[in-house]
């Protein structure tokens, strides 16, 4: 490749298909270098929706977000949890470095209210992040949320079931999460920029292990009484 072509390709307006998009929008570092590498701008997209698709709760989907949530809780803006399936537990959140003062939990009585709440939280711009567990997603509702996130310049995270992976979605980033040995396998289903074929394996902090590493726990099988 000649030197002049090289200089032309350096132009920021030119994007080549084999690169991730170098977006101008600000990104929130994930705290996992291997994941930052894959994401446009080097982190979670602020001002857009991120979908996390999981087969079931409890594989590390929240631990994946904790470093970012901890840094967001240091700034202004709520960490809004809309319709969480369980109780976000104060002691563990504090241990992850989250300032509980910035946390707000909304439990809307109906699904329509939940979508409304999520949209208001994104649109107001008063939230650093919105975490939402919503059901009955359709394209119109998703598009409204994506537009609200752009308007309020707020990072919206939707937790959805993995079977939604085949559906079309206006979200800027879609990740499929699967449990892996001592961590989490992250498949990038959609990002701004080209596709990613291989999943990235992230090492997650494991619960309980650090304290009792030397004592081997008994291996039991719990059979229903």
């Amino acid at each position: 490749m000649s030197a002049s072509l090289e200089s032309v390709l350096q132009h920021p307006g030119i994007w080549r298909g084999n690169q991730r998009a170098q977006t101008a929008e600000d990104a929130l570092p994930t705290g996992f270098a291997a994941l930052d590498e894959l994401l446009p701008g080097g982190g979670w997209p602020r001002g857009a929706l991120t979908e996390l698709l999981i087969e079931r709760q409890g594989i590390g989907e929240l631990r994946l977000l904790m470093p970012t949530l901890a840094s967001l809780s240091g700034a202004d803006g709520w960490l809004a949890w809309v319709a969480p399936p369980y109780v976000p537990y104060a002691a563990a959140l504090a241990a992850a470095g989250i300032n509980l003062k910035r946390l707000v939990v909304a439990k809307p009585p109906s699904e329509a209210d939940a979508w409304w709440t999520a949209e208001q939280a994104l649109r107001s711009g008063a939230c650093g992040v919105l975490l939402a567990w919503l059901r009955a997603a359709d394209e119109r509702r998703m598009r409204r949320l994506q537009l609200a996130a752009e308007t309020g310049c707020t990072w919206g995270v939707l937790f959805r079931h993995a079977r939604a992976a085949q559906d079309r979605s206006p979200a800027a980033l879609r990740l499929l999460l699967e449990p892996a040995a001592n961590g989490l396998a992250v498949h990038v289903l959609k990002r701004r920029g080209g596709p990613v074929s291989k999943p990235v394996i992230l090492a997650m902090p494991q619960p309980g292990v650090a304290r009792r590493a030397r004592r081997t726990a008994p291996v039991l099988s719990l059979v229903q009484a």
């Binding site: 537990y89 002691a91 504090a94 439990k107 619960p207 292990v209």
Partner: protein, 468 residues
């Protein structure tokens, strides 16, 4: 000294009509002697041919559907009090000039309101917002300003010399003198204040009374004036009767917004804010509906109140039409005045409290909460929902799951592999919530990590959390 006088020229009509945006033709009548006259009417009535000074039966015959109200001096007095409360946002020195005037001493508060022009503009828009019309005039003496306002001369005069030349042209009839005095002055050819002032003082005093000389001196600022300043009520509760019963949220909101400037004046004079606001909607033959607003922090921002009122009223179902609304502030708390930004305030700054208030209106107060940690070893009591975070620090524990199940779930899931533990928690024997548990981290077949415990009393296994 600089005085600002308001003359509410149509107060007797506005007390009835200001509760609605486009009222129907309306006239206010008063009995004088043996006959009843129209003393005020609105534009809609004038368009039908009704005019002030007409006999009441004639007006009724002329306009079909004319709403005729008898003059209500007590309602006028209440309105004037409300206006005085509103005027408290400008200055604490507010004096009433019943039945239809207000006098404000404003020389001390001009710089607070960034100059006279700005203050007048604010006053004008405030009066309009409340549904009144006023003539405003400024003068170095309160009586001078009042005479100018009554004469309809909207001028801001700041020196005595100019005040004298302007006052000289005003008719004698404006003076606060008995009709006999005014009549005999006119008979001697003194039709304006200027002509009256040119007459010899001693003779005027002897013939027309010292009161006339005193009044002229007060108007010109040559004689000190004594004022009883208005004392605002300790509580805020203002009623507004609607011209016609309404049920639409939009119409109610309009009426409520007529009262908000008064509330703002009340609060800014006290350096206070409201944390709760009640709008009582009175119905015919039914218990009133009370619409409540809650704020995260004390507030006196009327724009915010209006927005929250709109959302609340939209979601309130009224059983029947409303004839009177009452705005009531049950919880008034001190609020330090926000010091104005030296540079331009940042635009588009998101208001986090406003979001919470709006969510609470739609979802209910308890459905939106924060989370704080409590000092208890039992996991289910180590946290609690809270409306406002009080404790600065939270007890952190690395060995707790991010999700806690609201109620422990019996293990029906077949095989779990215990990965670490046990952590024994025994507590609560003193308050009836006795627990004796061994907690473990377990992994199920799908790779999810659970926080399980074995109840030591029964030997049963339960899932209590998820390491998400």
């Amino acid at each position: 000294m600089l005085w600002l006088a308001f003359h509410f020229r149509a107060l007797s009509l506005e007390v009835f009509s200001r509760g609605a945006a486009a009222p129907e033709p309306m006239a206010v009548i008063e009995k004088q002697g043996s006959r009843t006259w129209v003393i005020a009417c609105n534009d809609a009535a004038e368009a039908c041919g009704v005019h002030v000074g007409m006999a009441a039966p004639a007006a009724q015959a002329l306009a079909d559907g004319l709403v005729v109200r008898r003059r209500d001096p007590s309602a006028e007095r209440e309105s004037l009090d409300g206006l005085a409360v509103w005027a408290g946002r400008f200055t604490p020195s507010v004096s009433l000039a019943p039945p239809d005037g207000l006098l404000l001493e404003i020389s001390t508060c001009l710089s607070l309101h960034r100059g006279l022009g700005n203050l007048l503009k604010q006053a004008r828009s405030g009066v309009t917002e409340m549904g009144y019309a006023a003539t405003m005039a400024c003068a170095p003496s309160s009586h001078g300003a009042w005479l100018l306002a009554k004469a309809g001369i909207e001028k801001a005069i700041r020196d005595h010399v100019r005040l004298e030349t302007v006052l000289a042209a005003l008719p004698i009839a404006l003076l606060d003198q008995p009709p006999a005095v005014v009549e005999s002055l006119e008979r001697v050819g003194a039709r304006t204040l200027g002509e009256c002032l040119r007459l010899p003082r001693a003779g005027v005093a002897r013939r027309f009374g010292q009161a006339l000389i005193d009044e002229l001196d007060r108007a010109l600022g040559r004689r000190p004036e004594a004022h009883a300043f208005f004392e605002p009520p300790p509580n805020f509760e203002r009623a507004l009767e609607l011209p016609a019963p309404v049920q639409a949220a939009e119409a109610l909101l309009f009426a409520a917004c007529r009262l908000l400037p008064e509330l703002e004046g009340f609060l800014s004079l006290r350096q206070a804010g409201v944390q709760e606001l009640e709008l009582v909607c009175r119905h015919e033959r039914r218990n009133p509906t009370v619409v409540r607003l809650g704020f995260v922090k004390p507030s006196r921002d009327t724009g915010r109140m209006q927005l929250l009122l709109r959302e609340t009223l939209d979601r309130t179902r009224l059983p029947s039409p409303v004839h009177t609304i009452v705005l009531h502030a049950p919880l008034v708390l001190p609020l330090s005045a926000s010091s104005g930004d030296l540079f331009k305030a940042r635009n588009g700054e998101a208001d986090g409290d406003l979001l919470l208030e709006r969510l609470r209106i739609r979802l209910g107060k308890d459905a939106v909460h924060g989370i704080e940690s409590a000092s208890d070893h039992r996991p289910e009591r180590a946290w609690r929902p809270c409306q406002e975070q009080k404790h600065a620090t939270a007890a952190a524990n690395r060995h707790r799951p991010l999700w806690l199940l609201p109620k422990p779930l019996p293990c029906h899931d077949g095989r779990l592999k215990l990965k670490s533990g046990p952590e024994r928690i025994e507590s609560g024997w003193w308050d009836g919530g006795d627990v004796a548990r061994d907690y473990y981290v377990a992994e199920d077949r799908n790779g999810a990590q659970l926080w399980v415990y074995c109840d030591r009393a029964s030997g049963e296994w339960y899932v209590h959390g998820v390491f998400a």
